[in-house]
């Protein structure tokens, strides 16, 4: 799975478009959609580090997302601390949790690894939802809005730039995985672990590293997401559905490609936001219909375009155009 070349200017162009948009467009709805595209893209990029580059397909990444979301929410509501501090705590906890999960699940492959990560996220879900005295249990925690950078009480324009900065950072991390020695070694491990080990590549350590880094990256977005949305509850942030969503953007966009998660997020989040806005207030089980479509798209994409949007673009480019 080589890095598809979308051109040197493709990503830069996207950054410029996203960066200029808030200067031109002042519509809150549109800016909100842009923030969500960038945040979802960043989460999927974080997932991609483990799932795409290292081939450690996790279906329990909501565990780290939830750790990040809850760390900030608890610190800010119980001890009036800045969500930035909460993010730091969330990242540290996720580093430990990610290393632990990476270590414990290290020998597991394919479905076994996916199942073990689901189990971890479910344990956290149960702990957080049952520990009512501290976490408020299944009621969830409303995160108060206090204006200011330090409290992350920002307007939409500031959120766009914050999310954009995060997206650029995560894009850079993924590019590192495409071009560095570690990245090449991980690709080797992903394609054939036994062969990679025979060549002296420390596959175990590399996989643990990728999962740990991915966990910390996911926790960071978890904090931002909780502050942006203003509410955390265990059945959302620790759910298997959410973990699947992280993976979905990366798969649809292109597994193991730096631009893939953002392309996937752009497509899926845009469709979702549009449909939700168009059909809001109509109680016809529409959310369900949308997700039926979502499931079918996943099946079809995996089956017919396994390399995702980024890979598809590369494939079309590689094939000389016929007159």
């Amino acid at each position: 799975m080589g890095a598809p070349r979308l051109g040197r200017w493709g990503p830069a162009l996207l950054v410029v478009v996203a960066g200029v948009t808030p200067l031109v467009v002042h519509d809150a709805f549109f800016l909100d959609a842009l923030v969500l595209v960038l945040l979802w893209g960043a989460i999927s990029a974080a997932w991609n580090v483990a799932g795409g580059y290292a081939g450690q397909v996790s279906l329990g990444h909501s565990a780290f997302f939830g750790i990040g979301a809850y760390s900030a929410a608890l610190l800010s509501t119980r001890w009036q601390q800045s969500p930035w501090l909460g993010m730091l705590v969330g990242v540290l906890v996720s580093l430990v949790a990610g290393a632990l999960i990476g270590y414990l699940s290290n020998r597991l492959r394919g479905p076994y690894f996916a199942l073990s990560t689901i189990a971890f996220s479910q344990v956290l879900l149960i702990l957080v939802s049952r520990w009512r005295g501290f976490t408020a249990g299944s009621e969830g925690i409303p995160v108060p809005f206090r204006p200011g950078f330090w409290t992350l009480g920002l307007d939409h324009v500031a959120w766009v730039y914050l999310a954009l900065a995060l997206a650029i950072l995560y894009y850079a991390v993924q590019r590192y995985f495409e071009r560095s020695r570690i990245g090449y070694q991980l690709a080797g491990v992903r394609e054939d672990e036994d062969a990679a080990q025979a060549l002296g590549i420390p596959s175990r350590r590399l996989k643990i590293f990728a999962v740990t880094l991915s966990a910390a990256m996911t926790a960071m977005v978890g904090t931002l997401w909780a502050q942006y949305v203003g509410f955390v509850d265990p059945y959302y942030v620790f759910s298997v559905d959410l973990s699947i969503r992280f993976a979905l953007n990366a798969i649809i966009g292109g597994l193991g490609t730096a631009l893939g998660p953002f392309l996937g997020s752009l497509l899926i989040t845009t469709i979702e936001t549009y449909l939700r806005a168009t059909f809001s207030g109509v109680k016809t089980g529409f959310a369900g219909i949308y997700l039926v479509f979502y499931g079918c798209v996943l099946i079809l994409v995996v089956r017919f375009v396994p390399e995702g949007l980024a890979g598809l673009a590369a494939r079309l480019r590689a094939r000389p155009a016929r007159a």
Partner: protein
Amino acid sequence: MDSPARLGPAEIIGVLAQLGVATVLLGSIYALIAVGLTLIFGIMRVVNFAHGEFLMLGMYLAFWSFTLWSIDPWFMVVVAIPLFFLIGLLTYALVMRGIIHASHNVQIFTTVGLSIALQNLALVLWTGDYQVLRPWHAAVVVRIGSAAFNLSQVVAFAASMALTLALFAFMKWTAAGRVIRATAQDGEAATLMGIDTDRVYRVTFAIGIACVGAAGVLVSPLYAAYPTAGLQFVLLAYVVVVLGGLGDMVGALLGSLIVAGVEVVGSYFFGAAWKEVFYFVLFIAVLVFRPAGLFGQRGAEMLGA
């Protein structure tokens, strides 16, 4: 709940017997769910992440036929087995057939996609409300020793056991069962022997779905039906099959009893709210220390399943 330390010997024996019976009753239902999952894995080498959704469909089948036409779930089991066999054949043709020889990622995400689609189809068709079915036998109390169970649960136990044992017998003693086992051992060699492996996979998948659909009907008087009802059961079924060794049918039966035991004993001492923690911790422990299952061969997880 009384602290067990204050009980006398007679009471302790009574409690143990009660927990034992509860374990067996619950374990038999888990076995029927898990045996379908492990059968599909053992033969096709595909972990069906949508397995729980067929259970959920079984629960809705029972609920709607009871509500609309007053058909007792005990009768619906008889209908559900052939019906879910057909649903299995259809699902195989539309979805599973294309992924048998695909990579893990493709298999995982295809079945996950199927799971999302089915869950939300249920949400569209039947809303997210909890649907509880109350046939007459849910109110009839049966005493086994000092413990009380309702008749629905006892019959669900008996029917699950009968179906699981029938499946074992089918696999062991019929010509078709032998063909399936041969395919499981070595698909390529089986092809060379003239076995139509595509047909074997198709039938195996349909049998697995028929089992879990029947299980859904049987548990319908015991648990509420809702679109994601399958999830908790199927997570539990994964625990069972990993514990027993993926693909090992006898292991699935024993694994079911162990998981049911952990749940029953854990609920007794710590309250039902925490039962899931016990089996997930058990699950992680098994994955870490014996990923090939309690009775399986070491290294199976390395084959990448």
